[in-house]
């Protein structure tokens, strides 16, 4: 035992001495490359973005490539520089200006997402579909397929391009809708309109089939929240007339799930009424007025 204590004693003194501090010189720490973010010589495009979006609304737009803003395993390409201003000014006209017009500058500054990331190509998924927009945490919005963006005053515009442009607005209105309901929740009754029809299998369902079940798009079938913001987004982008057309396009007869045409239409109308009421009571926004303005701006860009 005594022997053991002795060994322990030597060991302890050994540790004490060996663990003494060493002075490490960290070297020069004033100039760490890349600290503080990427820098480059700013050009006219950087100035336009700063003056148009960053200064007035505190919105940053990242158009230069940074793989870490995207899914790391995806093959994507950066946007063409000459597409950035057309896209961002269209977004300003369709989304920013109209919301400010209806709800005021303070409302917009308070709730708008603050960070736009741009990709030139679409994001291709394993199942052959493509993603045209994503959003994270009410702050960051990623827009894809900028390189195919064409409005009617750009060379080479074809009517088919309008789908792509509308999709971009759809993404933004959709994500902004999420920010709104995550700030103040919509009434519980909305969730009860289509209870039992929500499904994770939405990506195998066509929009027409979804409409026969009383959903505005197939994606709306994925969850209550998506249903709510898809309603907002579709109604704003398609306009009142467009939405009516969607409701009226439901064919007679019943859906695969046995829902009648009248039932599906009634549900869509019920959802419409709740969205309008939500905008009025929670945000004091006249939804139909916002809808008219938004649709008018889109039509000016496209038709």
């Amino acid at each position: 035992m005594k022997r053991f204590l002795q060994i322990l004693f030597y060991c302890c003194s050994l540790f004490l001495l060996a663990s003494c501090s060493e002075d490490d010189d960290l070297g020069s720490i004033e100039d760490i490359p890349g600290l503080g973010g990427d820098t480059w010589v700013e050009g006219p495009l950087d100035k336009w973005l700063y003056d148009t979006l960053t200064k007035p609304y505190n919105i940053a737009v990242k158009y230069k490539w940074d793989q870490f803003e995207f899914e790391l395993n995806k093959t994507l390409v950066p946007p063409k520089e000459d597409k950035v201003i057309p896209v961002m000014s269209a977004i300003k006209k369709v989304w920013i200006d109209n919301y400010i017009d209806e709800a005021g500058l303070t409302f917009f500054k308070k709730y708008s997402p603050k960070f736009f990331i741009l990709s030139g190509s679409a994001s291709w998924n394993e199942n052959g579909t493509i993603t045209l927009g994503t959003a994270e945490g009410g702050r960051k919005v990623v827009l894809y397929l900028l390189n195919d963006f064409r409005t009617k005053d750009m060379p080479g515009y074809e009517p088919a391009d309008s789908a792509n442009v509308k999709q971009m607005f759809h993404v933004i209105e959709h994500e902004f809708g999420h920010i709104l309901h995550q700030t103040v929740m919509y009434p519980q009754e909305f969730k009860e309109i289509s209870t039992g029809y929500y499904t994770g299998n939405w990506n195998n369902i066509s929009d027409l089939e979804a409409r026969q079940d009383g959903f505005v798009t197939a994606y709306a079938m994925s969850a209550y929240d998506e249903d709510f913001v898809e309603m907002i987004s579709m109604m704003l982008v398609e306009g009142k007339e467009g939405f009516d057309r969607i409701v009226n396009s439901i064919p007679p007869g019943s859906s695969i799930n046995g829902m009648s045409r009248a039932d599906a239409q009634a549900r869509l109308r019920q959802k419409e009424a709740m969205v309008v009421e939500y905008f009025k009571s929670v945000w004091d926004i006249d939804f139909y007025s916002l809808q008219t303005k938004t649709r008018n701006t889109i039509e000016q860009l496209l038709y």
């Binding site: 003194s13 060493e22 490490d24 070297g27 100039d31 490359p33 093959t75 520089e81 190509s121 390189n147």
Partner: protein, 431 residues
Amino acid sequence: MKKHLIYLSLVIAIFSACEKEDDPVFDQSPDERLNETLTMYQGELTGAPYGWKAMVFPAGMPNSVFSFYMKFNGSNRVSMFSDFDAESSTTLQESSYRLKALQQPSLLFDTYSYLHVLCDPDAGVNGGAYGKGLYSDFEFALDSISGDTIHLTGRFNKSKAYLVKATQEEAQEYMSLERNREFEHITQFLTYFKRLTVGGTQYELTVNPYAHVIGFTWVDDKGEKQQDVVGFYYTPNGIAFAPAFTDGKNTITGLQDITWDAEGQIMSFTVDDASAMISGFAKPLVVDTAAPKRWWNKGQSMEYWVSTTGFHANGVDDAFNITSLPSYYFLTFWPTYAGTSYDILIFVTVVDNTLVPSYGPAFRAPRFTADGRIIFPYSDDRGTYPPGPAPVHNTRNQLADAAGYYLVQVNQDQYDMVSAKDGKAWITWVR
């Protein structure tokens, strides 16, 4: 106790006597060295007075190479030409670049340029795979610099690339838009087989003009068939091979001053100042005599072969216009159809969203000749031909041609079947 104290002081003496000073391997901190490296590369890139020639070898395309001309300035801007197509080779385009310390010092091309055309996941842009493009890169790690060359490796797909300082003469050629893309007419030869004749030796060529790849087939001194594949890129007066092609006897670095004679079906040029040419042939240089049987057996083992557009003849794809047939989906060849002794060339149609083997001519068992041809003896027509059956009749008559066909195995899943009559009609079979 005294003994203990002696031991203890010994221990103290040993451990406190060691030198605590670290001697760093480098005399500067990592950040200082990183900054130095980035500044060095930045200086090199912008300092080259006549810009840079760049070669990019897309990782997803074996042997493929594309060439670029780049001029970097000090404000993160780069101007480019590319040999991807006629437009990009004569339209200078400006985009953005920057050097960044990632895991390695890296050169990023951070807005869309000709370089990104190869990476675009929209296959409609570059003919690659949907979602992947040509598996090329636009973010490169700066591997090393030696002499006039900077070596790069793509960060995403690991494509190899290098930059070489351009000479004053090369820069002038690029800027004066001197280009020779006559080699693109290689697709306009009426015959399937094409041979390059250089100094008395013949090389059969298979060219993929989209991937910038050329395959060489030749017969060596021992009479044996040899094959090699190299990439090619366009130069101001023709094409260059990367790497240079060599068979031990001839080394060919490229074809210069190319001209194309559509009437005479001859492409003329010089190779190292000696005139040479490519001309069309009806027969392969080396006949793969076992190929017909191999093709037929493989077709039988997997039921059928598929062709989407049928025969190419006399320079026209889908020469018999079979894609215009009502509800046409694709053409198939079924050796010993459904266990019978007949081979049937079946036209598959879509009826109510279902594929239906609708109609087509039947053939008796094929004849395999000693010189490597396959001949299809026509028997009778099966099923009901649609109104306006000319495309079916013409395809049937073509297949039944008495001279028969050579078969060329392109890869494991693809054979090209070439008319032995004149080499001007062929059909591609895939599975």
